[in-house]
Symmetry: C2
Subunit: 100 residues, 2 copies
């Protein structure tokens, strides 16, 4: 099992707008081979930013990598450059493999 | 849904020893109210450290907080001060609530 997390630092006050963007986008994940589950999760809030992470679960790292090279991935991210006023910098990716 | 992650920086070369500690401990999580799932996951490896995270899923933040105040939690962490040679500093906790 593989967990892919992309961390977003959101400008304080822009949380609702960011959540709306994610809720309204089409993730194109349904039916992608090896895809298990997607969640948007929210972490700490500070004066500087509110932390969010896209958190997806995959059957394997290979399945995740294959998706990043697919048309479904391209479609899901085609508007990723929009709404730059919501973000403090680019997202920060981390991938994790299940040990136990 | 609530995700609790505790990040551990492990000294290079000590990965197997760390995994063994986690595999052999009794987490005392079975039957804890609101507990859904536990995984140990492994992230990036660098010259400085190997990143691991304990990753647990809970029905709610309240269920997680209640567990941290329970006897089951105390039992699961009673040996947490051991094996200090495996770690680069203390673990770093992050909690996340499901948005989508």
């Amino acid at each position: 099992m593989f967990i892919a997390m992309n961390r977003f630092k959101i400008v304080p006050g822009k949380e609702d707008a960011f959540e709306k963007v994610l809720k309204n986008r089409d993730s194109h994940l349904k039916g992608v081979p090896g895809f298990i589950e997607f969640n948007l999760i929210k972490g700490e809030e500070s004066k500087e930013f509110s932390l969010y992470a896209s958190h997806s679960k995959w059957e394997s790292k290979d399945a995740f990598i294959a998706w990043t090279k697919s048309e479904a991935f391209r479609l899901a991210h085609k508007n990723a450059g929009q709404n730059q006023d919501l973000y403090l910098g680019p997202p920060n990716f981390e991938g994790f493999e299940k040990v136990i």
